[in-house]
Each structure stands twice: as C-alpha cells, then as structure tokens.
Subunit: 338 residues, 2 copies
C-alpha cells in the first residue's frame, strides 16, 4: 500500500538525477538531434526512475498549446443521446485523435448559462481547436470563435455558409443520400411513395427530402410526407396514421433505420408484407438495420469516417492550414426490405 498524494516530479529533478541541466533534459526527452545518444539514454533512465511526466500546464504555457480539442455540443444532451448517429461520429473523432497527442473532450453548451461558460473558456484559450457537432444552433458561440480565431470545424452544412472562409466544414451529402434511396425505389418500380422523416427543422431532413424529390417528383406528393422523431416508436406511430388515411402506397422512405423498424412493425401488424406489398428504405445503416426482419435496405452515412475527417482537419488547422470543406459520400446498402 504505497501512500498517494505524491507530488509530481519536475523536469528539474530529472535533470538533477541525470546530472545535466534542465534544458538538456528537456531536449533529451524531446529527442532533439543536438543531444548525444549517451546523454539521452541517461536522461531517459532518470525520467523513468522518478516517474516523470511533463506537466501539462507548464508545457502548455511554453508551447502555446493545451493539446485539448473541444467537441462542442450545443443541443441538449438528451437529444444528442437519443440520436445514435452521434455516438458513432464521436467515436470516429476519438479514434482518430488517439493517434495524436491531442485529447478530445465533449463540452456541453445547451443552456445559455452553459454557453457563457464555454465562451469564457474559449476566450481563455483553454482549447486548441473546436469541433462543433451541431452548428445549427448557438451561433453566438460561432461568432466568438471566429473573433478569437480558434480553429473550428463545423459538422454539418450551414445554410448560406456564413463562416465558410473562416471555419472548416465536414458533412455528408444528405441530398445525394436522398437521391440514392429514391432511385432504389424507382428502380424497384414503386410509384406511390410515403416518407416518414425526422424533425422538420433538421437540415439533414430538408436536404434528404430534396434528394427524394429530385428523383421522384410527383410520385412523392406533399401530403405523403410526415415529420416525426427519430425513434422506432415515432415510425410506428406515423405509419399508423398513414394506414388510417387509407391511401394507396407501395414504398416508404424513412428518415432513420429506427424509424424504419417501427414502420415495418406497423406494416406487419396491418397485414402488409415487406417487401412483397411495400418496400421500405431506411437511413444511416445503424446496427439495427441488419437485424431487422426483413433486413433493411438503407443508405449508409459514413459517420465514423466523418469523425476521422473532422479530427484531421482540426489537427491541420492547429498547424495553420486554411479552412476547407469536405463532403462525405453516401452509399446504398442493399438488403431485403426493398
């Protein structure tokens, strides 16, 4: 039982233990070419012996970086948590940054109060870069980040791209995804389409619908478009509403795989067979998609790759790279529900 509350060893102690100066110790540990192999070995041994780890605060001050990247979440956490696509995306970020010395941390800023706190820490330069996961809200913060010149990556397309020249952007081409889903329906010969989408104010939803329309035109009448939440329960309920209307339809485009799962359940309960009577196409290629019965044909959104991309761009911007915009491409995953 070693006693804790050990005070951390400093570089000076390492230097003393190795019989060199602080500067030499620092260079040795940072593998500077100016230090002899001999000395490096001795310093490394000393560092290991006293369990030296460079103090983040001192290092940050000296090098002008904290090596921490904030992943900014401006939605309520509960909303974030209810959308499983986020977790995939966030994992992508973490995964990529774990190759570097940078640490991603999630920063919640949903309430005004929280946003003010976040703002303060941005002003204090607590983070080297910011990845904004849902830049649709909280634009005051974006304004602050712009003014401060903090490297920032927006995940999602901003209408009118007000910050295009200052911030980088990463997003999946939702319109393309919509086209892919709609094309699949069309190829299958489906003519009377219903769409059960996510929230109407969600930009991705808007874009996907535009994609649907590009392909389907009047085969997807406005009355057949329903906006709802992202969950299977929402899909279930929406499909019940549609069935109650007693309109004819032979295809359902869904805003998420979970919506699709609910839709299929409702269809089955109504005695309709998928895909014999009705074709269903999901969105996201969430793990639930493969487990559906029948397995769900869906549009895969490269979320993890998007995370990688966002992280890499952030790193590049820290090194001084210019802002860029990169678009990730969607992909149709053929399974059995079409």
């Amino acid at each position: 039982m070693t006693q804790p509350v050990r005070t951390a060893p400093t570089l000076a102690e390492v230097a003393a233990a190795a019989g060199v100066s602080r500067s030499t110790a620092s260079r040795a540990l940072n593998d500077s070419p100016r230090i002899s192999e001999e000395t490096k070995k001795r310093v490394r041994a000393a560092a290991k012996k006293v369990n030296f780890v460079p103090n983040a605060r001192g290092r940050a001050l000296a090098v002008g970086r904290t090596e921490i990247i904030a992943v900014l979440v401006t939605e309520p956490l509960s909303e974030l948590f209810s959308d499983p696509t986020y977790s995939e995306f966030l994992s992508g970020i973490t995964e990529e940054l774990s190759e570097s010395s940078y640490l991603p941390v999630i920063l919640q800023a949903s309430s005004t109060h929280e946003r003010n706190r976040a703002r303060e820490h941005f002003e204090r330069r607590s983070f080297d870069a910011v990845i904004d996961v849902s830049p649709y809200k909280g634009s005051e913060l974006l304004e602050v980040l712009r003014e401060l010149g903090v490297p920032t990556v927006l995940c999602g397309q901003l209408e009118g791209h007000p910050y295009r020249d200052v911030f980088s952007t990463v997003y999946s081409d939702d319109e393309e995804g919509g086209r892919f889903a709609a094309l699949a329906m069309k190829d299958r010969g489906r003519k009377d389409i219903v769409a059960v989408l996510g929230p109407q104010d969600n930009p991705a939803v808007v874009d996907r619908l535009r994609g649907y329309r590009t392909v389907l035109g009047e085969d997807l009448p406005g009355a057949n478009v329903i906006y709802t939440g992202w969950n299977s329960g929402d899909g279930y309920q929406a499909m019940h509403q549609i069935l109650a209307r007693e309109i004819a339809f032979d295809g359902v485009l869904c805003g998420s795989d979970r919506i699709a799962a609910g839709v299929i359940t409702a269809l089955n309960e109504a005695g309709l067979s998928v895909p014999a009577d009705v074709s269903v196409v999901g969105f996201d290629d969430h793990e639930i998609a493969a487990r559906c019965v029948p397995a769900l044909t869906t549009v895969r959104q490269p979320l993890r790759e998007e995370g990688h991309m966002a992280a890499n761009i952030a790193l590049d911007m820290i090194k001084g790279a210019e802002p860029t915009t990169s678009v990730m491409h969607m992909q149709l995953v053929q399974r059995d529900s079409l």
Copy 2:
C-alpha cells in the same frame, strides 16, 4: 466585417493601458483588498477596453489549477447514449459546475488505447478532478488516479469499496429503490411477481433485485427474473417470452421505465389490462413514465441531484476536503399502473 486572428491581449497590455504595473493589474482584476477602488476601476476599464481575458495556460501554471474537471466515461459511448439516465445525471453535473469557474468535460475512455491517452493526461495533471461515471470498469485508471492523488468522485457503489479511503463516492440506494417497488406490489396484494431487469452484470440491477427479494421472498421465484437490455423493445420482447411460458403472474417489476413501456405494450397486445389484471412498476421516473398509458408508477432516482452532489464533492476535494460517501435516496412515484 472585422478581421479575425486577433492575438489575445495580455495582462501587460492592460497594465500599460491603465498606467499600473502587471502585479497591480492582476490584483485589481482579482479584486484584492489591497488595491484602491480608484485603481480597480481604472484597471477594469482598461481590461474591458482591450477585451482582456486571462489566458488559461498562464493562469493554470501560476495557480496550479486548470479549472477543468473530467467526467470520465469508461463504457462505450454507444452504451452510455442508450441509457437516458446518464444524460440527466450529466446535466446535473454541468448545472452545478456552471455556478463555479470550473468546466466539466466528458472524456471517453472505452478502448484500451483511449484509456492510455486518458492516463497520460491524468499524469500530466490536465484536470483538477475526475468524476467517474461508471467506475465498474477500467480499474487500472482508478489505480492511476489514486497514485497521482487526483481528487476523484466515483458514481456508483464499488464492491468491497477498495478505494473508499481515497476516493469519494456518490450513489443512489438501489436496494432501497427495489424495496420501495416491491413494497408497493405487496401493499397492492400482488403475490406472483415477475421481474424484467437490465443487464445481469450491472451492479444497480443486482442491488435492486436484492431489494425486491428482501420484501417479496418467494413471491419472486428465480425463474421469474429476466435480465435484458434497458429499452422498451427489450421489455416488449421479455414480456412476450414470459407470456409464452403461460405462467400465472399479477405483477411486473421493471428495471427501467422504458422496459416498463414495452412490457405494457406487450401485455395490452395479449389482452391483459394494466393495472386491472397486472400491476407494473418501473424504475427511474424518466419522462416517458408520465406519458405511458396508464401513467407509470415508478421509483424515482434523484439523478440530477446526484450530479449536483458529485460536482460539489469534486469541488470540495479540490479545495482539500477529505473523501466522503453519500447515498441518495429513492422515492416511489405513485401513478396509475399499480
């Protein structure tokens, strides 16, 4: 259109603008009693004028604190995200800390790789305290934190309390919650009980079951205990299995409100009425509970308050307080499903 990439003003600039020394400027801004009101005003005006915000890195080095508290998540994010109780708890932490100058950040450490990264940043003293949201896994990290003497709060009861003397602990009394739910069943005269719980390896589940058993004894036979996931779909499926067994039961104890929602759906589909034929009791008092039909009787877990408590303990420990253990109490919320 002001141009960005402004380099941040330093304390020296403020001092110059106010015609005082750096030290005086610092004290004035920190409201030291040794500075005259006159001077404070002048310095504050100067600071405001040049938009001064103290640099986190310099400040951190000087005061020995980063003013950042890590909320450590050792489960996969997806798991965290699938459990809505977390979001409530996390909000509690954020809420409480937003009153202080501390910033909570979520640190994901599910993979070994991520854990190593986290470990490094702990060793570098990047954070003033750590709140471990799910201390059941990743004990190597706990060991590191103990050795480093980083103030740490564990959220959840650890078997054997191996770190009781070093870390603080906050948890809800799950066993008590189990007793409350079971007592309600008993008072209602229910004799044949079924339990649809969360994952078997979850400590809260174990404790709750113990609470059930304390009250019900043989009214809850082992064969009637089903372990499953936390979602309504899981509850739905579990109840189907139970119904297929054709055993007699008149009460269902559920591990979460969402499980309960699924259970009720399944019961209704089977032609059983809640609460006339079967009583159902949930857990958590999640928002879904009040919206259920019939409205769900459930055990309220004071998640938000638990978050407040964890945050406060962390702050106290940073100031040097001894580790403490605090138990939050459960509460039965009577509604219509019993």
